[in-house]
Symmetry: C2
Subunit: 325 residues, 2 copies
């Protein structure tokens, strides 16, 4: 079984890379841009190149599903790059292929707000995929950069599913039927996502969890089981949204970037402004065994559990990361 977490944004360090190895994590999709423009994103690719040079026994870059398999054989954790916003491509469609060449494999079309491409989940109005958005989806399909709608609004998400000729992903979110946060997804979105061959990654971020930090493992796993009934057990995986060791200044950067001079609390509030504490059953990369046990406990078969824990993402990588046929 390959163990894959399809979304983390930790304050990376040797400690965390070693925890990935201790936890037997074969691949992690890491966010390298929230609001960064192209040149800033390149600096983040550069930082990862230095880490790959410094820690060759722990981590390596993955561009394909086969790179993940090779990393597992070598006893390393494969790192896959993604953007939570299209800011790295600025207003230049040519940067889609450039970013893919540098290793980007997921890109959100919008992050909470309206972007040049699509609408975010906190906007009052959602006019759907823009003119540029349609062109960029086509180009992402061509080169093998996956459309991610985790922070997008419903209409934009449904249109992205429709317009994209390749399956899309919602890398980190949960179903709204379980916890009705703006970031969680409606049954309609989840069904359309599954029918089109897309993937949902379940988030462990407390604002996406029923009872937040106090959410129980059983409640979480029951939710996964209900989602499997809705979407099929092959279209779901993990996207923990682990932001380990990050200072609260980072959640402020995620929320307001440079788009506002006023603070916006996003999913938090003035009295709960920082990163919320993670649930007791998921503190870091060594806790995935607990999740797998929880899934088995609510009735998932071994094969289904392996699918949710990573095999489904691996299959999706194989289908999604190369140039279109």
């Amino acid at each position: 079984m390959h163990l894959i977490d399809n979304l983390q944004y930790a304050n990376w360090s040797e400690k965390i890379f070693r925890q990935m190895r201790e936890g037997g994590v074969d691949a992690v999709h890491v966010t390298i841009a929230y609001h960064e423009m192209f040149r800033e994103t390149v600096a983040n690719f550069e930082q990862w190149n230095r880490w790959f040079e410094q820690y060759p026994d722990l981590i390596c870059q993955a561009r394909t599903g086969d790179d993940v398999r090779a990393a597992k054989r070598d006893g390393r954790t494969a790192i896959i790059f993604g953007f939570q916003n299209p800011s790295p491509i600025e207003d230049d469609i040519g940067l889609v292929e450039i970013c893919h060449t540098l290793g980007a494999r997921f890109m959100q079309l919008s992050y909470n707000n309206q972007s040049l491409l699509a609408t975010g989940c906190y906007e009052a109005e959602d006019p759907g995929i823009t003119r540029m958005g349609k062109q960029v989806i086509k180009e992402m399909n061509r080169v093998g950069l996956v459309v991610d709608m985790s922070h997008s609004a419903d209409r934009s998400t449904l249109e992205a599913i429709e317009i994209s000729e390749r399956p899309i992903a919602i890398t980190h979110a949960n179903p709204a039927f379980w916890h009705p946060a703006l970031r969680n997804k409606s049954d309609t979105v989840l069904k359309e996502l599954a029918v089109s061959g897309g993937m949902l990654g379940f988030s462990f971020y407390p604002h996406h969890l029923k009872d937040k930090t106090d959410c129980t493992l059983n409640s979480f796993c029951e939710m996964v089981a209900k989602t499997a009934e809705l979407m099929g057990a092959t279209q779901i995986g993990l996207g923990s949204d682990l932001c380990q060791d990050q200072p609260d200044s980072v959640v402020e950067w995620m929320r307001v970037g440079r788009w506002s001079k006023e603070i916006d609390y996003g999913e938090g509030s003035a009295s709960d402004a920082g990163f919320p504490p993670m649930p007791s059953w998921f503190q870091d990369n060594r806790d995935f065994g607990t999740i797998a046990a929880g899934l088995r406990a609510v009735g998932f078969s071994e094969e289904e559990t392996a699918g949710v824990m990573g095999e489904n993402w691996l299959r999706f990588y194989d289908q999604s990361f190369g140039k279109s046929a």
Copy 2:
């Protein structure tokens, strides 16, 4: 035999790509930056991506010697990217690997002037490779980006040969013994280059030729034969410096970029400011057969001729373009 021209900077068009095919040219090292900073260079990578998409039957990108062999099998011309100046890496050593990932395989450490790394051939003083230059050569060696000293001064060139742990190249220049232009190279430089396993590419650019535009093919080929005596027939190839269809504004850009408000005529003069006409025996990519015939006529064997026409560059690509062992 593989036919390789290791330096061109044409005003690229379908016409020129078709002439490459008519001429049986298997690979061309194309300049994509003279004075461009990183973001401008990325726009040039983007432009080539569009051409690869538009003309898939004529051209394709090459990152390795094997890509050149595959291009030949497919009946396409392989395109290899290079910079004539280190301006694309700005003051950021991390951009060396980023540019290599995007496909850059040659980078000049200086272009006529002093750079952050080395001295150009038109400076009055040459203090040698700089502190940053030493670090960048090491990084270029690590990732497989070839040091090119075509437009550099002698001391910097000799130091680059010494410091670099992998063979370097002078992609487009001729020996000064034949035509003593500032851009042409001393016997000392050529000998050290050859001893270290480096390569010289012969230029057809009139300012580098004896009698300029009126240079005869026989004079050129006799010079190649003398250089083979000096360097060995395995360390030489072609680097035509063909600037086909470029307007004279481009030679002005090459010469002054944005470093001067005053015009600098470089190898030209006020009365001869534009691109000089190419010699009658080399007008475009369809004329390489003439060169090969000229080499045979001055006594090169079939094997030596094949080496000069491309096999030597191909061997050098195999040795140079991958990560260091």
